[in-house]
Amino acid sequence: MADGELGPLPAGRHGFTREQVAHNQRERLIAGLATAVAGKGYRAVTITDITKQARVSRRVFYENFEGKEECFLAAFEVVVGHIQELAMEAGGPSDSWPERAVASAAAVLRFFAEEPDLARLCLVESQAAGPVVAARFHETVSGVVPYLEQGRGERPEAQNLPPTTEDSTLGALVLLASRKVVAGEAEQLEEVLPDFAEFILAPYIGAEAASRIARPQAA
């Protein structure tokens, strides 16, 4: 997602339709916001910072977005959409639920480790960008609940888990990951996969089975 490398749109006859140009401008504004936020944080970023990065005019910005918050939300959705794809595509078709869950967690953590700026946008800035964005952030995390709930089918005992099990588990891990990003340790997020995997699986398949799957090398 190195969209920051995009050059300015060539002037004159580039053969794009108006929609294509508009779409491209919108994407560049989104990429521009991501770069600007990585540089100085959401709160300090101005519309000028974004349009400078995107190399489009203020008028084009306001044709696409009402303001900074809407642009941030658009960027957030793009990154989240990408992460969702990675999580869905992870693992093989014949994998069991625990294997798929671990593969998804691994894919998400790898993405954050490889893209620390986007990890910050998603996990830290989204919590610091005001109540509307923070609510969207919480909704997004809650969107993962149904996937975890599938784990309740793994064992009879798992059906009696308290209703907030998924929310507590996800919240715990999201906070842990965002604290690592704040501490400047985003690149190390892949290393915590065994801890994450064990924490996710244990309620559903039991502590010992979770440990076996999460730490195969230790077994």
């Binding site: 005992e157 009696n160 929310d167 507590s168 906070l175």
Partner: protein, 225 residues
């Protein structure tokens, strides 16, 4: 009424006057309460000093005598709330004479109770603190660190304790704060105390195993927090 000889010097001279210190405390308390209410209601970014002084019924000069800006007032609120919450939770934990799971239940019960009783402050601390800049976010971090030592003794109950990640305590505390946060965002502060059994089960499970954790949670439910 005459004071007994020798005691006169120890008697207060008439009714206690409103001391300067007491009135300054009162001003600060009113400013922080107003800040909590406004931040909870409309968010930190939208809250202005004008609104704070109006709601606190103090003058601008009084506000600026105590705080340089609204950030400073909000940080003071977070510090006071964190101190108070940590005190209440630690006190409930220490006062409980039972085994460790009971102590955790007592601490957790106190946490849910104080959040339910002061939803505005709780919301300001949990929902708004991470959004109000790095200093405020650091308070959130301090809160997690503060609760970790109460959970750590659980490791002694786990035969696989050496395999538990070092971050487990803060991770668990984060999970509970997350769910409290969710309830507050949904305007459901009144339902917070009902979370006790399941949040307790969540906190205990990694240490004592699922069966014991579920039994303890059932016990907490029977007692009704």
């Amino acid at each position: 009424m005459r004071a007994l000889p020798g005691k006169a010097s120890r008697q207060p001279p008439g009714p206690e006057p409103v001391s300067r210190a007491a009135s300054a405390d009162d001003q600060r308390r009113r400013i922080l309460e107003a800040t909590a209410d406004l931040v909870a209601e409309q968010g930190f970014a939208e809250t202005t000093i004008e609104q704070i002084v109006r709601q606190a019924k103090v003058g601008y000069a009084t506000f600026y005598k105590h705080y340089a800006d609204k950030e400073e007032a909000f940080l003071a609120l977070l510090d006071a709330a964190l101190e108070r919450t940590a005190y209440v939770v630690e006190e409930a934990y220490d006062r409980e004479d039972g085994p460790w799971p009971d102590k955790v239940g007592a601490g957790l019960g106190a946490l849910l109770k104080i959040a339910a009783e002061h939803p505005g402050v709780a919301r300001a601390c949990l929902v708004e603190a991470p959004t109000a800049g790095p200093e405020a976010a650091a308070r959130h971090e301090a809160m997690l660190k503060r609760f970790a030592p109460l959970l750590r003794p659980g490791r002694e109950l786990n035969p696989r304790a050496d395999k538990l990640p070092a971050s487990l305590e803060e991770t668990l505390a984060g999970g509970v704060l997350w769910v409290i946060n969710q309830r507050l965002m949904a305007g459901e502060a009144a339902k917070l105390r009902a979370l006790l059994p399941e949040a307790l089960e969540f906190l205990l499970r990694p240490y004592v195993g699922e069966e014991v954790a579920a039994r303890e949670a059932g016990g907490a439910e029977a007692i009704g927090g």
